[in-house]
Symmetry: C2
Subunit: 205 residues, 2 copies
DNA sequence: ACACCTATGTGGACGGTGTCCACATTTTTC
DNA sequence: GAAAAATGTGGACACCGTCCACATAGGTGT
């Protein structure tokens, strides 16, 4: 932490977000501490207030970054197994759960600030500009278009899918299911993914 | 807050938990503040350390109380609509979501302290001694016994069901789906409950 | 080129919090 | 009835979020 020679920092806002993300990685939303972030960036605590109204504002920015990272992971998984329409939803599920388990702290921070507005911002998108929610929603549209998902089951389907995936992620990382052996977790994920498909389209298989 | 006349409090541990639950109701897990709890009970801050090792220990006790309250709500809903085996799972779902929406702060606090051990304690049970998890699990056993749920789908079924219900609860209260109109929320709950049933038993209806 | 204005960073302070230590008081135990 | 254990008090420390006044840098208009 050599003291910078310019009085100005250059891009303090961004630097603070990066530091905040690192803190969230290490200890979840509660670990996103204003003073510690400024300390890591090498700046006085109050400097943060020129860029964020509040600790909550910083946390919100960190949350966006986390959501973007989540979307990125999902997109990456999607790119790996694109061919059958059916497999896309599974890939997204895999990405969601993989991210939550690989980065539990950041995942928790991503959903720490509430409100749909936060989740649907441009800041919260992956490389191709879609949020996690939109990725899921689009996959369901594809399923409908391809005839795998009957149109009468389409409404509210993303609530079901998202709830199941998100709930699984929360229970696995944060919640009472953490500490499951990796083997068990994997099997559980498979079973849950199966159940999601069945829940969507009763006539499948 | 009349100063008590006995030097000893009587049952400080319990009083602190009650105060903690109240704090959780008002502002979630972060609002469970040691000093404030002692203040409300009318006792010096350090007195808490005779009964709890830590702030986290108090929060854990509050969490147990919250889980017990959740189980109680589920049991109550179960008692209201007992007849057909199928309806029991729906009643439990309704109870879970109703509690989460009625007491979002306490609900969050209930799942704030992690680890399966915490969730399965005796402290975390409803009136008839079953935890939320066990209530769900038992309902699934009943479904299997009555033939509605094929035995080959029984394993890991509680993970699916719990994930979906819990995810829905989190997204509705904490998460991006909060702010949904009550009507929408109700419709979403119905759809999700339908999907859960379909996800469990492919041959239903 | 100079003076101003605004954006940005600094320093110091305040109240609040978790937690530690030493001490006081009550209850229990022998 | 004295010793020991349990319980509550008081004071202190470090840390945090946040407010205020001040210092400095980068631009802007004349």
């Amino acid at each position: 932490m050599a003291p910078r020679e310019t009085y100005r920092h250059g891009n303090l806002r961004h630097a603070l977000i990066v530091a905040g993300v690192e803190l969230a990685r290490e200890g979840g939303p509660d670990a996103v501490v204003l003073r510690e972030a400024t300390r890591r960036v090498g700046v006085a605590p109050n400097a943060a207030y020129r860029h964020f109204a509040d600790r909550r504002a910083l946390l919100s920015a960190v949350s966006q970054a986390g959501l973007a990272e989540l979307a990125r992971t999902m997109e990456r998984e999607l790119a790996k197994a694109p061919s059958p329409v059916r497999a896309r939803l599974r890939a997204l599920t895999r990405g969601y759960l993989a991210f939550a388990q690989a980065e539990p702290g950041l995942f928790r921070a991503a959903f720490a600030t509430t409100g749909m507005a936060d989740t649907d911002t441009d800041e919260a998108t992956g490389p191709d500009g879609r949020t996690a929610y939109r990725l899921l929603s689009d996959a369901l549209d594809d399923l409908t278009a391809s005839g795998a998902l009957p149109p009468e089951h389409r409404p509210y389907a993303e609530y079901f899918v998202w709830s199941t995936i998100h709930g699984m992620a929360v229970l696995l990382t944060d919640g009472p299911l953490r500490g499951l052996l990796p083997v068990e977790a994997e099997e559980a994920e498979r079973r849950v993914a199966d159940a999601i498909e069945r829940g969507l389209c009763p006539t499948s298989e």
